[in-house]
Symmetry: D2
Subunit: 119 residues, 4 copies
Amino acid sequence: MTNLEAFARELRQFVAEREWAQFHDPKNLAMLLASEVGELVAEYRWVAGGAADEHSRAVDPRRRIADEIGDVGIALLLLCDRTGIDLLQAMSDKLERNRARYPVEASRGKAERPQPPKG
Amino acid sequence: MTNLEAFARELRQFVAEREWAQFHDPKNLAMLLASEVGELVAEYRWVAGGAADEHSRAVDPRRRIADEIGDVGIALLLLCDRTGIDLLQAMSDKLERNRARYPVEASRGKAERPQPPKG
Amino acid sequence: MTNLEAFARELRQFVAEREWAQFHDPKNLAMLLASEVGELVAEYRWVAGGAADEHSRAVDPRRRIADEIGDVGIALLLLCDRTGIDLLQAMSDKLERNRARYPVEASRGKAERPQPPKG
Amino acid sequence: MTNLEAFARELRQFVAEREWAQFHDPKNLAMLLASEVGELVAEYRWVAGGAADEHSRAVDPRRRIADEIGDVGIALLLLCDRTGIDLLQAMSDKLERNRARYPVEASRGKAERPQPPKG
């Protein structure tokens, strides 16, 4: 495995062989992503923030976390492939907007602020 | 932007300049990921499955979806960077396990089955 | 079981007997909620929208869905109990705001619109 | 507002007046729930666990958190109403199973363990 594009091709073939594209409309894939992220969140829910780095290095948790990260990444790539949205481009565009939204001087050492309620 | 590693470096610099690593323990990043995925799910919640591909191509929804995919990808890469888990390796390992778990002949044309309840 | 308050008391006792309040800060409980909702979402991810009502009535899926709904409700009540936020009051306040936000005439037959991107 | 059943009736009327039942199949409602929980998670993502109780009491965060809890509760009740699953019953059944699953003596002072990976 050398890069994202090569992996995306492997993934597309995996889906094609199983004839799973019929289940992979973007709505279903957004749900797949949400459920996989839920499993990743479950890994950390009882771990204190200050112990989360150490937890991520311990052998068994690390194996599970890597497993869930793999699931999340696969779900995200399936959605990108289905919608034709380039993941690297989407991230790069967003990072550029974030640079403008969070100027270095004004943002240094401050957590991004929570959004105001919309309702 | 040519590849994932180069983008991960840019992202690391973006975080370092703002001194945000202090907020980015893996637990917080898992929550960031969950909240960003929630916004992506919101994009599709009222769209019928059969209309989800078309919705993903319409100009305004596509811009919003790409924006949310960018956020989700960034959150996932931040978590990978913090934990030292290689995203491509994690996805590749998982795909290999999925090949064994879902043999082509037995899986063809069948949605992955929901898991049994654990409680 | 006759009402929400009585159940909340039972739940509080369940937690107290196990000395779990130490794990139940609001941040952890928000993560518990997210992970339980992820399991509920998993139940519907491969089901077509038009088949989701029928799926919810089939014996085995219904048992699993009720199980996940129970988990989600418990996580939500644990968070309400910990923060001292009254669930019925919070829902009632929100419904009142939604009445103003979505006037009957202007909203009839229209799905709530997705929010504009915030980034 | 005196109880859950009365609120569920108000909510049903709110939906009926706007003719929104057409959008509220269980799959869409599961997505609504996931997106609302994502907003609740966002409230706590940069707050340290040890500061999460205090954060929940501060005026502005508390208002936003109550607002998001209201949204989550409403989404959960909409799903219960659509599927005919009684929320109190589902929670009560689950609590009973949890009593068996986590005996007091064996569980005292221990966080529920994360689930083993399923893949």
